[in-house]
Amino acid sequence: MRRVALGFTVFAAFVFGAGAAGAQDITVGFVTSLSGPASSIGINYEKGINAAYAYQSEVDGHKINLIKLDDGSDPSAATQNARKLVQQNHVDLMIGTSSAPATNAMLTVANELKVPFIGVSPVNVKIPEEGHPWGIAVPQTPNLMVKVIADRMKREGIKTVGFIGFTDSWGDLVYNGAKAAEQNGGPKVTSNERYTRTDTSVTAQALKVMSTKPDALLDGGSATQAALPLLEMRKLGFKGNFYGTPSLLNRDFVRVGGKAAEGVQVSAGPVIVTSQLPDSHFSKKIGTAFHETFQKVNKSDADDGFSGYSFDGWLIFLNAAKVALKTAKPGTPEFREALMQAIYSNKDVAGVHAIYNFTPKSYYGVDERSLVVVKLVDGKWVYQP
């Protein structure tokens, strides 16, 4: 009985204590996967937002309160977190999360509760019929990511490409992107093999791909285990080139892939090779600032693409808040409407990944300037103009 009473007291304290932000503060909610299968990506997103918050944590004198929640790689939890952020913490804006299904789930809530949402993973929700959408997606579309690398394959004379990817939403997205590229003149996709992150072997899948005799291989995995098919294919004697998407930009992928991963080319946001970019590149200045802040806050280098999305999402928010503060006060529905309108009206926002332009007709807002091709040489990613 005592324990129950204690529990209730604590609960009440949080229900009532949650809205204790200062009246002029802007409250932002951030959701990512700190546990579960998407955690290797999710933790990178969190590092990105940490760097972003350190870069600028107030707008025109208004302090920003950042609330971070973990969704455990589960879209149900992401939905619940989104509702909590809006209904309990009264956030002005949400940013999230690390997997496509969970991001879709949050966007659905944003559209319903009319709170601006900056998605940092791919989304696929219908544009609402009435009014304007309440969210945007920062990343390049998966189809664009694959198109850029497919164009590179075409340039290098690749006619057929085999596909091995994860048995998850990301694997689906890359495969669909490859098929879309094929429709538009890209290399023919000869296989659709899948494996899970915790598999002990991909010999069978690799054998199947090799039996279709492709010129090259497109890797649809992500992080460490994306190295597995490459290791296996080389062991089985495959001589063709490897290509991939930004999800291969991962320190452990490089480590585990070793010699087999040498020479793999991936499409990537410019943030990964900021130091190698010419000074005239749109992301040189902001990218350098990003890398510096990231190193200071997280005590490591930003050698993945995901943290950059968080940072760019923050930049978009900062620019919008600056405009919105002119006409409304934080914590009000008018402020949220103003934020969303500002996101649409701000043009050519330069981030570490891309130049952003958003309209109510689509969730995405980047173009081909947002991707470059990089090659893994001696354990480092090198810009391939």
């Binding site: 949080f14 879209p75 209904q87 659905t108 929700v125 694997g171």
Partner: protein
């Protein structure tokens, strides 16, 4: 606490719930919606695991099938969500029926493991169907509309969820108190008893399984139209495990336990999410599940049966009225006295190399009391098991009332009119006396699951309850019919078994050591009862060791030794037989 006070409390609770969106904070209403949706699955688990003893790690998959069915119908095909509901229920129950038929014959561990197996198989199947969005799922599911009003806001869908939940709770409550509910409750503890009462255990398990799947389907439908987005992740084995945890924390044998458990687990996760960043800011995400699991383990170590039974200890006992007398259930005609009722012809049974019953033949005449006696290990109980269908004879024939029952299963034989008691008393200790006796009347009544849930069986129940009271009074246990059977001393437990057997209105009563453990006065009363029954035309076959009891009571005796029939005849003839004397006493006296 009387029934009226109980109903008043329930009414107040329902009113408080109905007013909730007006006085609770919006996020609390959101949490309540999740709790409501999860409670459906937990309720199914209470029925399936808590009551019927079938541990299922696959309920989230059923939720998923329903969610995907309605998502396909409403988001991809453009139909109304209500049509999606129909589709969801039909598809989920069909799949459950197929899976159930395939796996419900398994026992214990193997059954639970099979639920993990198909649970995982279904999860990976969802993720692989491109037409259902594969791992990215189906977004933009339209909300449910009542008339022209779409239920979009938390406060709106709240009523749909909790209204449906309360109705389901009511139906489940009715079901558990009905004939089918008693059969479900009787499933735990082994099949031997259940089959001997004429209950087809597999059928009951299958329907319970489909009912649990139906509840999970309702949950899935509500979930899909509440989140308006489905993907495979919320329906994987981890969620099945959470639902099982909810049922266990609340109290897996109690209907309210489903809601209490769902509420506690959902709230606990939420509190942990709020508290942890204050204690361990940098690693709170990773620690959440650790803290949650640790709390759960500690909880189960302290309160194994869950919260509801723990709290119920402190509440006053509900007062229950004994059933009013009502018209009797129709009775079976008894066969003519003196004719042959049952013939055992050259029955044999061996277990591997051990021959337990060896070529035994005897007749049972209608209206007589026949005793089967013999030293320990003579094969008497095995003979009984062959007659009642608990075991199959290796050789020989058994003919009962003109029908060959040699290969018939136990529940068919029970329905043909043979009722039995067991050497090691088989009761359901957690059910009341009257419920145990009502189990005996199962084959004389007909109300099914649906009738039970909708309370359409009140008339038949009244007849059956009155009959059960009659039998309880007959054996002398009528004063406290709502006591738990497990609290009775052994002698009274044997009497209860007899009452249960009588409630089945048998033609032949088969009693295995009915007098064992009774004191002298009780034995006299029992003998009196058996004589009365014989006078009413009932035929009785019994095994006994107490010679005084047997000699003064029975009409004829069959003696067995080492599996063979030694001799047969009246008590005096048997007593004088030298072979019998040798077998019992090692020599002629």
């Amino acid at each position: 606490m009387s029934a009226r006070t109980g109903r008043l409390i329930v009414l107040i609770a329902v009113l408080a719930l109905a007013a909730a969106p007006f006085y609770m904070a919006p996020f609390t209403i959101t949490l309540m919606n999740y709790i409501g949706v999860y409670s459906f699955v937990a309720l199914g688990l209470v029925l399936l695991t808590g009551v019927a003893g079938i541990v299922s790690f696959g309920q989230a998959s059923f939720m998923g099938i329903a969610a995907y069915a309605t998502a396909w119908a409403s988001a991809l095909m453009g139909y109304s969500p209500w049509l999606g509901l129909v589709l969801a229920i039909v598809v989920t129950c069909a799949v459950a029926a197929v899976v159930g038929i395939a796996t419900l014959r398994l026992q214990g561990h193997f059954l639970s493991l099979s639920t993990i197996a198909w649970g995982l198989a279904l999860y990976f199947t969802f993720g692989n169907i491109a037409g259902l969005g594969a791992y990215n799922g189906i977004p933009s599911i339209p909300p449910v509309s009542i008339g022209t009003m779409p239920l979009v806001g938390s406060g709106q869908i709240f009523y749909l969820i909790w209204g449906a939940l309360l109705l389901s709770l009511l139906a489940a409550h009715n079901l558990l108190g009905s004939r089918s509910g008693r059969a479900m409750r009787a499933l735990r503890g082994g099949n031997a008893l259940v089959e001997s009462l004429g209950i087809n255990a597999l059928h009951i398990r299958l329907v319970t399984f489909v009912v649990a799947a139906l509840l999970a389907a309702l949950s899935g439908w509500l979930y899909a139209h509440m989140s308006r987005f489905v993907s495979p992740t919320p329906f994987d084995v981890t969620w099945s495990i959470f639902f099982l945890m909810m049922a266990m924390v609340g109290g897996s044998g109690y209907l309210l336990g489903a809601i209490v458990g769902a509420a506690l687990i959902t709230l606990m996760k939420n509190w942990i999410q709020d508290l942890l960043p204050l204690i361990a800011p940098s690693s709170s995400g990773q620690l959440e599940i650790v803290v949650f699991s640790a709390l759960f383990i500690v909880f189960l170590q302290r309160a194994r049966d869950g919260i509801v039974p723990y709290v119920a200890q402190f509440l006053p006992e509900p007062r229950r009225e004994p059933p009013k007398p009502a018209a009797a259930l129709p009775r079976r005609p008894q066969p003519d006295q003196g004719g042959v009722l049952m013939q055992v012809e050259a029955a044999s049974r061996n277990f591997g190399g051990l021959i337990a019953v060896n070529d035994v033949s005897f007749d049972v005449r209608a209206g007589e009391i026949l005793a089967l006696i013999g030293p320990n290990g003579a094969g008497k109980t095995t003979m009984f098991n062959i007659i009642t269908g608990a075991l199959r004879a290796s050789k020989g024939r058994i003919v009962f009332a003109g029908k060959d029952i040699t290969d018939a299963p136990a529940n068919t034989i029970a329905r043909a009119g043979i009722a039995r008691t067991f050497q090691h008393v088989k009761l359901r200790p957690k059910m009341s006396l009257i419920d145990n006796v009502l189990l005996g009347a199962y084959s004389r009544t007909r109300a099914g699951f649906l009738a039970g849930a909708l309370r359409l069986d009140r008339a038949e129940e009244a007849h059956a309850r009155s009959e059960a009271m009659r039998q309880l009074e007959r054996v002398g246990l009528g004063s406290r019919p709502f006591d738990l059977a497990g609290n009775l001393p052994l002698g009274n437990q044997r009497l209860l078994e007899i009452a249960r057997a009588l409630a089945a209105d048998p033609v032949l009563l088969v009693l295995d050591e009915p007098a064992a453990g009774l004191r002298r006065q009780e034995k006299l009363k029992l003998a009196e009862l058996l004589r009365t029954l014989r006078a009413e035309g009932l035929t009785i076959l019994l095994v006994e060791h107490d010679m005084d009891f047997v000699m003064g009571l029975v009409d004829r005796i069959v003696v067995m030794e080492f599996g063979c029939k030694l001799c047969e005849g009246t008590p005096e003839a048997v007593r004088a037989d030298t072979r019998v004397q040798e077998a019992y006493l090692g020599g002629v006296v």
